[in-house]
Subunit: 181 residues, 2 copies
């Protein structure tokens, strides 16, 4: 987020068709919960389009990149790499250490899709489990970001939005972003 070292989310692997919705949700979750950028495999063009469309309508800044060199991005990342995996260390045990690392340098969060290579476990400074139970890469990413930013991401403001949802106890209220109350 604004004035902090970058947080990027890399979706590792994507099967077109089968994974479209999960990959889209990874990207939208990254955007909504404070990451600056998502890196998708180059065969995930449809997900990229959806995420960009949401960013155009609801605001940014948020970047979406399609990359064919995912392994190289991870290997050459200049900063800290966190790999989210149910086999990793418990998030509650390592989150403060990750937060300290992020205070100093950019953070890359790798979210597995298809089977991730062994090198990824070795390259990552942190292999982190949001529980050691099988559930959802989207859920793991969401909890991890909320804890990384300590809730600050919920107060972020959005630039260049066309529309804005105003919180309501009952019902729906959407306004032009300029009309913000």
């Amino acid at each position: 987020m604004h004035e902090e070292p970058e947080v990027a989310v890399l979706r590792f692997g994507h099967r077109p068709g089968r994974d479209d919705r999960m990959t889209t949700h990874v990207g939208l979750t990254a955007r909504a919960l404070g990451a600056d950028r998502v890196l998708l495999p180059d065969n995930a063009g449809q997900s990229a389009e959806t995420i960009r469309d949401i960013t155009d309508r609801f605001g940014g800044p948020f970047e979406v990149e399609l990359r064919e060199d995912q392994k190289a991005v991870v290997r050459d990342w200049e900063g800290t790499v966190v790999h989210l995996t149910m086999y990793g260390e418990r998030v509650q045990d390592v989150e403060s250490e990750v937060r300290e690392a992020h205070a100093d340098e950019p953070l890359l969060i790798v979210v597995g899709g298809e089977k991730v290579p062994w090198e990824l476990y070795e390259r990552a400074e942190f292999n982190v489990g949001v529980t050691n139970q099988p559930h959802s890469e989207v859920a793991g990413l969401a909890v991890f970001l909320d804890r990384l930013f300590d809730g600050r991401e919920l107060d972020r403001e959005w630039a260049d939005a066309d529309r804005q949802v105003l919180p309501q106890a009952t019902g729906k209220k959407v306004v032009d972003a300029d009309d913000e109350a």
Copy 2:
């Protein structure tokens, strides 16, 4: 969780095929992050099977129910109803009030799939937005549960598991649940 009023998650609506994976992830996230039970529409049998299979292998207690009377379940719920929606009040503003309600009585968390009816907004004691941005019902549920339980869910223990993942800084370690270190 154990010795607290029940937390159930209801997945509202399901389109077989298209929604299978999202509905499965809603159920697995509910299980992993401390809910006691998930209620799925009766056309989501495949998701129910996957969630039960995971519970058999990795432990419980966790219940999966297929219900054809979703509207009635919500209407007649004896306790507090929370509806997660991007149009709702900000989670950071209402979470302590929800926590207090849950200290006294069972909580039903409704996660929208297809379009939810207006009555649901009116029936719910709380319409809650995990951000007022479009992202993922799985992500919203995950952050909501982590905040509801204040992280306690990460320390829960699992009964009747066949296998257990032991947290590792690098690599994967899965043991028979009886061999727990």
